[in-house]
Amino acid sequence: MDSITFRLNGTEVTITSPGTRRLLDVLREDFSMTAAKEGCGEGECGACSVLKDGRVVNSCMVPVGSIQGCEIVTLEGLRESEQGKRIIDAFVQSGSVQCGFCTPGMVMAAASLLAEHPRPSEAEVREGLSGNLCRCTGYDAIVRGVILASREGEGL
């Protein structure tokens, strides 16, 4: 067991845990933050996506002992921010959500993409979301949602 300190949604937290425990499990079990989901557990689906120091990563691949001092943001944190609100709003308006299982991961991927490319092309959006699988929407509505989020706040 190790004592591990990192920042979670803006607050410093310290846990006692084996260092190789997956961040995904720590979020869901220790912090009851269930937005990040386990789809595949092997890096393929993106349902477990969170931001690590501002960039989207698969939390099923991340041992908690490796993130000491890092800033982790989950959907629970992002949705309180202006950017998070804008993306969620755009997803609602664009009908980007069906069953919703992929949605938290999609929103995190969108946040990471928009931080890097505030006005992405459609191709950049598709590339930015290419690590996230959705079994319901056929992706087009999600891509439209991200593009809408990129335009909002600029008066369209």
């Binding site: 260092g19 425990r21 092997e42 890096g43 698969n58 099923c60 002992g65 991927a109 290419s130 690590g131």
Partner: protein, 283 residues
């Protein structure tokens, strides 16, 4: 007993590596999949791991007269956009895995995994890249081709790890990278070709071809490359089938869940033929 070590510096990492024999852990995108256990349980890593991904000293990408130095823990997503990195390597890296995985994964991990389907390994071998291995006793530099000896096998000693990868500055004029996979994101290669050449005044001055996922290691044949060097474009045109035939016995793929040996062989040779065609057109 702990299952992992979090060194605060490179020197502490080297000490921990020697004292504990913990295995290097960079992005974890190979290790966490290979040793994945049931959902919600700890990964079944056979040994304690030594986290290296966070060490700033290992994340630098820089250039000097000898070439580009890429730190072992530099992220694929940073390598892909770095102005210091050869465009063939940038292209290769940006076709690996997916954006979130590229924010974790590293070149040292792709090399340490020593899979013949490691995409970055294939292009790095075509680029004549070397690995710098560090230990408390000092450093040694090896050509990447000599470092990887078989599937999952390297000549790394138990107290060493990769500190950086060096790509020589002097490279052929042209390159062509092709990866054949089931889809664009998150698909391991069925096969790949990293090819380079310099053609000057209608003569081939340099010629390189590295084939991924079609043998126990990435296939690069310097003997065959030497036979192509010095050919005029007319000779290259006449000899194309001869060159392809010379490569044929060295492309020794297997059947696995991703593809079949017959397809891999045929498609690899087709890519080689296409590369030679491109040289004749653009020469």
């Amino acid at each position: 007993m702990t299952d992992s070590y979090y060194p605060k510096s490179l020197s502490e990492a080297l000490e921990l590596r020697r004292e504990t024999g913990a295995i290097p852990f960079a992005g974890g995108t190979d290790l966490m999949v290979r040793f994945r256990a049931q959902a919600g349980t700890l990964p079944k890593l056979p040994h304690p791991v030594l986290f290296l991904g966070h060490l700033e000293e290992l994340r630098q990408i820089s250039m000097d007269s000898s070439g580009t130095h890429i730190g072992a823990s530099a992220l694929l997503s940073d390598i892909g956009v770095s102005e210091h990195v050869h465009p063939m390597l940038s292209e290769t890296v940006m076709l690996m895995a997916s954006p979130p995985l590229r924010n974790l994964a590293t070149l040292a991990g792709n090399i340490g995994n020593a899979s013949p389907a490691g995409d970055a390994v294939c292009s790095l071998i075509a680029l004549d890249a070397s690995v710098v291995l560090a230990s408390l006793s000092g450093e040694r530099t090896l050509l990447l081709e000599e470092f990887i000896t078989g599937p999952g096998k390297t000549v790394m000693k138990s107290d060493e790890f990769i500190r950086e990868i060096v790509v020589p500055a002097d490279q052929p004029d042209r390159y062509w990278y092709r990866k054949v996979g089931t889809r664009k994101a998150n698909a391991l290669s069925k096969l790949s070709l990293s090819a380079m050449a310099t053609v000057h005044e209608h003569r081939v001055q340099d010629f390189r071809a590295a084939f991924g996922a079609v043998g126990p290691v990435v296939i690069r044949r310097r003997d065959l490359e030497a036979q192509v060097r010095g050919m005029t474009l007319d000779q290259l045109s006449r000899e194309t089938e001869g060159i392809v035939d010379a490569y044929r016995p060295h492309i020794i793929p297997i059947d696995d869940q991703r593809s079949q040996a017959v397809y891999r062989l045929q498609a690899s040779l087709n890519l080689l033929r296409r590369w030679i065609d491109l040289l004749m057109q653009g020469g």
